[in-house]
């Protein structure tokens, strides 16, 4: 039951391209997250898999069958919408039973069994006679999940299912969806703009940006070996610091004319960008003469602090994570340096870091 996308493109009116040449394989039973900023085409891609939007070019195969011209109902999948798409005039129970009743191929007793089972799984048994408007946001979300669970489809598509919930509930539902997916062995294709959701749930992540696939990989691969500057800066809070750098010799580079650092790999170019995660930066309080940056603000997060500082050159700002007992305050003059765990990008933004170097480090 793997889902294979081959050179899939979508364009409206010939010149407006929404998706360009997307190729991917989604394995049976995996949690596959499509992530990207708004307008990157991720929802369009999901709707193309569902059959709600037509495919301009390329092919989509589900379980070995070409589905390009197959209507949604014949693709044997189910979908959870951002707005939940609950029928306001039906009870929770009837909402969950909607698809089973509509297909008319399931016996009454089986419908009852499956709907009750699904409601039990999402802890909604007690509320089965309520109408959607009598439910909280999280409960509505669960009804939508139950509808997907009750269906016998093995592929489930979710389009930003958590974006209408508050932050606390989002974490809870995230865990529930993950548990459900593992328990049922669903192939789950999940669209989100939230990098945290992608990181925490996915087996594989597809990063979309500007209608193009930027990278497909496991969360670790995406974080440790981002394909380019966009992927590197999309994941991680605060985002990675990107600074210009020049090569001094094989072991040393100079970052933003502010500090030199040694590096344990060959650098193929003389001018490039260096990406340093906030926790790989080191700060030290120094006097004005030796300083290469000034603290702008400090955010206290409990276990740690985030220090925002302005570098002496090029008007660039950096963010660094330091221990919460480190004492920095605004206008402090500091010396910024970095560990050797950095990423290097060429002038086109492509990652040119040598793999072994990072892995070994």
């Amino acid at each position: 039951m793997s889902t294979i996308l081959t050179n899939v493109s979508k364009s409206y009116d010939s010149d407006k391209t929404v998706l360009n040449d997307v190729t991917a394989e989604i394995q049976t039973g995996e949690f596959f997250v499509i992530v990207g900023p708004s307008g990157c085409g991720k929802s369009t891609l999901l709707r193309m898999i569902a059959g709600l939007t037509s495919i301009s070019e390329g092919e989509i195969h589900i379980d070995g069958q070409l589905v390009n011209d197959l209507p949604p109902k014949d693709r044997n999948l189910t979908m959870v919408f951002q707005s939940y798409a609950l029928f306001p005039f039906l009870s929770v129970w009837d909402n969950v039973a909607f698809g089973l009743k509509a297909r008319k191929s399931t016996s009454q007793s089986e419908i009852e069994e499956r709907v009750n089972e699904a409601l039990k799984m999402v802890n909604l048994e007690e509320l089965k006679d309520r109408k959607p408007r009598e439910l909280s946001g999280g409960q509505r979300q669960r009804v939508a999940l139950a509808r997907a669970v009750a269906s016998d489809a093995k592929i489930c598509l979710m389009d930003e299912p958590l974006s209408n919930l508050d932050a606390q509930l989002r974490i809870k539902m995230r865990q529930e969806i993950y548990a459900l997916q593992r328990k049922l062995g669903l192939t789950l294709i999940y669209v989100t703009h939230d990098q945290v959701e992608a990181m925490t749930m996915a087996d594989h992540i597809m990063v979309l940006h500007d209608s193009q696939v930027q990278q497909i990989g496991t969360p670790t691969e995406i974080y440790k070996h981002p394909a380019n500057e966009f992927v590197a800066s999309f994941f991680g809070v605060p985002p990675i610091n990107l600074l210009p750098a020049t090569k001094i010799n094989d072991q040393t580079i100079k970052v933003n004319d502010d500090f030199e650092m040694s590096i344990n790999q060959q650098v193929p170019e003389s001018e490039f960008q260096v990406g340093i995660r906030p926790n790989e930066l080191m700060l030290e309080k120094v006097d004005e003469l030796t300083a290469n940056a000034t603290v702008k603000s400090v955010e206290f997060l409990g276990d740690e602090k985030i220090v925002y500082a302005k570098m002496a050159h090029n008007d660039l700002e950096i963010a660094a994570i330091v221990a919460s007992d480190a004492e920095f305050k605004a206008y402090d003059t500091i010396l910024v340096s970095a560990t050797e765990k950095v990423l290097l990008f060429n002038h086109e933004g492509v990652n040119i870091t040598q793999m072994e170097a990072v892995v070994n480090a």
Binding site: P72, K73, F81, F89, A102
Partner: protein, 313 residues
Amino acid sequence: MLKTSTTDVVPEKNVQAKQRHGFRLTAKDKYFASIFLGPSILILGLFVFYPMFKTLYISMFLTNTLGKTTVYVGFQNYAKLITSPDFISSMWVTFIYVLAVTVLTIALGLLLANLSSQKLPGISIFRTLYSVTMGVSVAVAAIFWLFIFNPSTGFFALLSNWLNLPVVNWLTSPTNAMWAVIITTVWMHLGFTFLILLGAIESVPSTLYEAADVEGASPRYQFFHITIPMISPTLFFVSTITIIDAFKSFGLIDLITKGGPTNATNMLVYRIYKDAFYSGNYAKSSAEAIILTVIIAFFTLLQFKFLEKKVNY
């Protein structure tokens, strides 16, 4: 047809909101209130409230041909009415007419609205064409259809001749005359009903249909299990409007059949008019008017009650 009838009701929504604007009671407000409300109260009092009581009053008397009340008879006028076969047949005719007009208008309006809610190239042309009868006034509709129904030169007669079918006497047979009035009324109301229902269908969130598509519901199933329940408040609203308008029908009847043949289309309002202004029987006419008022008030109240809830789910 757009009508400023007093019964086209908008739901009374959030009564609390009125309290939002509850300002301090001042002498100034009282002064402004009398200026702002005065004209309306005067007109409504003179031309709606006073005549209603007056009609009720007349209906309990006997009247002379000048309309002056003579002898108080209590509810005898009503008693006479409900035992008169003539009046009962009139009520019967009215009910059949209202029922047929409502069912046909809603069914056809729904068919048109559903068809033209599809996303097809050029669909907006059809939408415009279907709403055309909104621009037709009562006399124009009557003239267009009278020509079609005309037994000697009319379009239906010609059509029957071409097809070698017997010519139907649309306006001289009681049953057919009723159909003629019903067809014309439905045709006139169709544009308005269509537009209102189309608006309702279009406001159903598209994700509901997408979810149903994915779940495997056929278009037919979607129509009956999503569209109809979702637009049921609007369906109810247009139904009551159509019922109320049909009960008040006068123009088309006067123009097409004049209540005939043999009273086959002599509906309530036409009766009220004829009893008063033809026969000079003002008491009888007033009693009939009160019966009409009760019927209209009932359906208007139904609409109010229902719209207060606003939705049915």
